[in-house]
């Protein structure tokens, strides 16, 4: 292959890689709505109870470079908001939980309302402001009858 085509292929490879990176970063800050019919049992996750207003349910593994950073952010958010609880569940030894919640990447963060219903789902490392916004939406919503 001559030099010109090699440089073209290299440029395309770089552009595609940057595109993938930008897309993945965008997708991480995009909340997805949960299934309103399903509620989470805290005892199954090894917790006593859920937060009074909302729960930040984080899934981590031992092999997760970004999980400690997300843990710090979520713990900080939970500490500043009354009634909000942060749970960090290590899936390394619990493939059953990973399968149940269809977790294929860590960190994955679920925002549960006060009934334990999954309202929002984040894959990856969402920004703090995005979490705060979703949390306000879930926690301050008028409760359903």
């Amino acid at each position: 292959m001559d030099l010109f085509f090699a440089v073209i292929v290299l440029a395309v490879l770089l552009a595609v890689t940057v595109g993938i990176g930008v897309f993945l970063r965008w997708a991480q800050n995009r909340p997805r709505r949960g299934d309103p019919a399903e509620s989470v049992d805290p005892r199954r996750l090894g917790a006593e109870s859920l937060g009074d207003a909302a729960t930040l349910l984080q899934f981590s593994t031992e092999f997760c470079a970004r999980c400690p950073g997300v843990h710090r952010t979520l713990a900080d958010v939970a500490a500043q908001r009354p009634g909000v609880l942060h749970l960090d569940v290590d899936l390394t030894h619990r493939p059953d939980i990973a399968k149940h919640f269809q977790v294929l990447q860590t960190p994955t963060t679920l925002i549960l309302d006060r009934h334990g219903v999954v309202r929002t789902r984040f894959g990856g490392t969402p920004g703090r402001d995005v979490i705060e916004l979703e949390l306000s939406r879930v926690a301050e919503e008028i409760p359903h009858a």
Binding site: L10, I20, T61, R94
Partner: protein, 171 residues
């Protein structure tokens, strides 16, 4: 769980290593592309020996050896040592720390990808070398520039398939 426990490492270290690895892999893709469909074999008659003598093969073998080093002994791997001795002292003190196991696991993923490329190249599969190098480059570049660790994300997928991981502790 407090952060600066002695087991934890500065998060910028693995990203620095990934940056150097990405540059080397991009160079290797370039060398590999130049060698595709060329008949010049440096005057060597034996096609197998000619494939081994290709610069792209030699560079990827070196990169694979560095991946292996990173898996076996992360503390002594050259780029990590370079980071701690030369780069880290010139930066602000580290504020983010992480478990060293995820980057080590990712080095293993990089090793597997590059070794597959090397073996396919040796048996004469065209394009195998630049494609394997390109795949490894994408992962290293995303880690260095965007902080995304594809190798780490792969862990749960592999666990689901049953390749890694231990049986669940509780029912």
């Amino acid at each position: 769980m407090p952060d600066p426990s002695p087991r934890h490492i500065d998060v910028r270290g693995p990203r620095f290593v990934a940056g150097i690895t990405a540059v080397l892999l991009l160079l290797d893709v370039f060398l590999g592309l130049l060698a595709v469909n060329t008949t010049s074999s440096f005057g060597i008659a034996d096609p197998f020996a000619a494939r081994v003598a290709e610069p792209a093969f030699l560079l990827l073998a070196l990169i694979a050896a560095l991946f292996l080093w990173g898996v076996l002994s992360p503390r002594t791997a050259p780029w990590g040592v370079l980071y701690r001795r030369v780069v880290q002292p010139r930066l602000r003190p580290a504020t983010e720390f992480e478990d060293p196991r995820p980057p080590r696991f990712a080095q293993g993923v990089g090793l597997v990808v590059t070794v597959i490329g090397l073996l396919l190249h040796l048996i004469g599969v065209p394009w195998a070398l630049p494609i394997a190098a390109a795949a490894a480059f994408v992962a290293a570049f995303l880690n260095a520039v965007f902080g995304l660790c594809l190798g780490c994300q792969l862990y749960l997928v592999l666990q689901r398939v049953g390749i890694v991981g231990r049986p669940s502790a509780a029912a």
